[in-house]
């Protein structure tokens, strides 16, 4: 084997330019593949984090009919018991409670339909990262009454700014309409334009008193230590509290799971195209190498080199060429992902606001896992083996008596 490795290594540098071009092509292919994979992962992770970490959380609890009918009187019965239960569950990292309403927001200039979220500021801060999206003013606090925060987009639309007053109109639990004035204390900007235009946040205590004259919650949002335990936590809550419905993030937002699958598919197809190009590159180079070495290979068989050794030698040549490139490509990919993972890749100039329209950040931080790397290595090995088999078999067909005199 040492002999074969030695010969193969020397053989691949017989034409340094040709081998070099293939190695560079492999480096470029691997690098771009890893980059695309990293960007796709990064986009999906960010989208996932934006939704889960910023507002949706891993598990949500509602009145059994709330998600369909969204009636203000469908609040969670006996929230104190639920709070006590959730506080004692070891799988739960933190949770928050929300009072929800659909209504109108009015400024002196115009009005707009909005979803009103009444939050407990301290709980929300502990549970979600939404407060990190504040761009102006302050996040809600437990002390300031009738305070409101809204998206920059909505503020622009209403021609409002921090310090102005707006009026919220919505339905009470008894189905009567009610209105109240709120002071804008802060503006936020998320990666979703739609969210920014449609959501306003007030204190839960202010909103629930207007809805039901007492503290009521329509939603409990729960963050877990491990997203994989979503199903079991939701199941336990459902068992313990038959009067509520607890759902996992992927039951609430199935599209989020499709996005992850879609991202994986994109990565797979991109890698497939790269591997196909790689396979044809290897095939072409190795066939050329064999055709121009027919006489030499014939001589090797004539003087006593077994065909299995010839086969292994050609396979080794293909593998060495590929691995020289693959290692370089992976190294470049790893370094690029590391660098971009810190700096981010700003696609605002290229994609404008269209990415925000779909809820994606314009600055992407590529991510690649060790598993992705292992998958790429396996893919490369499989590609090399498959593409080198034909040239190697071609070499086996050589009849020394036909070629040594040519």
């Amino acid at each position: 084997m040492k002999l074969l490795i030695y010969i193969s290594w020397r053989n691949i540098w017989r034409h340094p330019a040709r081998s070099g071009v293939l190695v560079v092509a492999i480096i470029a292919g691997m690098w771009s593949g890893i980059l695309v994979s990293g960007l796709s992962n990064g986009m999906i992770d960010q989208r996932f984090n934006n939704l889960i970490e910023e507002s949706m959380t891993h598990v949500q609890v509602h009145h059994p009919d709330y998600m369909v009918e969204r009636e203000p009187n469908m609040y969670i019965p006996n929230p104190d018991k639920l709070i006590e239960f959730l506080s004692n569950m070891s799988q739960i990292r933190s949770f928050t409670a929300r009072t929800l309403a659909s209504g109108m927001i009015q400024s002196p200039q115009t009005s707009s339909g909005v979803q009103i979220q009444g939050i407990r500021a301290d709980w929300e801060r502990n549970t979600t990262t939404f407060y990190e999206n504040m761009t102006e003013g302050d996040f809600l606090s437990d002390e300031t009454r009738n305070a409101l925060i809204m998206g920059e987009k909505l503020a622009d639309k209403l021609d409002m700014s921090v310090g102005n007053r707006v009026v919220l109109t919505f339905q009470r639990a008894d189905h009567e309409l009610t209105s109240a004035a709120f002071n804008i204390v802060g503006l936020f900007k998320t990666s979703s334009v739609q969210f920014d235009e449609q959501q306003v946040f007030v204190r839960s205590v202010d909103l629930s008193k207007l809805i039901a004259d007492k503290i009521v919650y329509h939603e409990f949002a729960i963050m877990l230590h491990d997203a994989d335990s979503s199903s079991s936590v939701a199941g336990r809550i459902n068992n313990e509290f038959p009067g509520v419905t607890s759902e996992t993030w992927y039951q609430i937002s199935p599209e989020l799971r499709y996005i992850a699958d879609f991202g994986n598919s994109i990565t797979f197809y991109v890698m497939l195209v790269i591997m196909l190009a790689l396979a044809f590159g290897i095939l072409n180079t190795m066939l050329m190498a064999i055709f121009e070495r027919m006489r030499e290979l014939g001589m090797l068989i004539a003087v006593g080199m077994s065909k299995i050794r010839i086969f292994v030698m050609i396979m080794l040549e293909s593998m060495m060429l590929t691995f020289a490139g693959a290692v370089g490509g992976m190294l470049m990919g790893y370094l690029s992902i590391n660098w971009m993972g810190q700096k981010g890749l700003d696609l605002a100039g290229m994609a404008g606001d269209s990415m925000n329209e779909f809820g994606y950040d314009t600055v992407i931080y590529p991510v690649i896992s060790s598993q992705d790397f292992i998958s790429i290595v396996i893919l490369v090995i499989a590609t090399v083996l498959l593409s080198a088999v034909y040239p190697s078999f071609k070499a086996l067909k050589i009849k020394p008596s036909d070629v040594v005199r040519e």
């Binding site: 053989n11 017989r14 004539a302 006593g304 080199m305 065909k307 050794r309 040594v404």
Partner: protein, 228 residues
Amino acid sequence: MAIIKTEHLSKVYNPDTIPVHALRDVTLEFEKGEFTTVRGPSGSGKTTLLNMIGGLDEPTSGSVEIDGVMITGMKEKDLIDFRLNHIGFVFQAYNLIPVFTAYENVSFIMLLQKCSKKEMKERAEELLTAVGLKQKFDSRPKELSGGEQQRVAVARALASRPKFILADEPTANLDTESAMNLLDMMEKMNREEHVTFIFSTHDQRVIDRARRVITMVDGAIHKDEKRE
């Protein structure tokens, strides 16, 4: 005792379309220590005969026996092993491995034979010295002249300690001086070490040196003369 025996050897190419009779009923014996030339015009069957003897091609009929072993009908894998350990080849176009040095080209055969490093080194140095290339151990083929490359090829052929060497037109690509030097060297090995050489050639310089000359015409033995 004969080390090579061919019995009624025939080879027909394209038997189903336009048959070409490359060999016709060739029966020959070669003794150890011979310095034999197979001569004849192009297409007379010289190379085909050497290919049959070297186990590089299968006869249509007849058989080849080497040192008591019937190589006709042998499995390909066994035949390759047999060639490695019993037959040396020298080709017209040298066919050295271009990425190897002269030393590596010679020792490579012994690596295939799984010789020890020490034995390999000693034998490769001895052979390269014997063919007059003591100063060129580390030269690659492209750094050697045609004559020098063919000397490396002879050293390579001898490296496996074969029973005989088959040399197909070994001087065809060489100038007169290189050809004469090569022949001197091979003749010396034949006389001093009793290495058996069988040449296929129409080079008169080789024919003049041979102690046995087999003339082939149209695939058949036309004349088989021995000289003192």
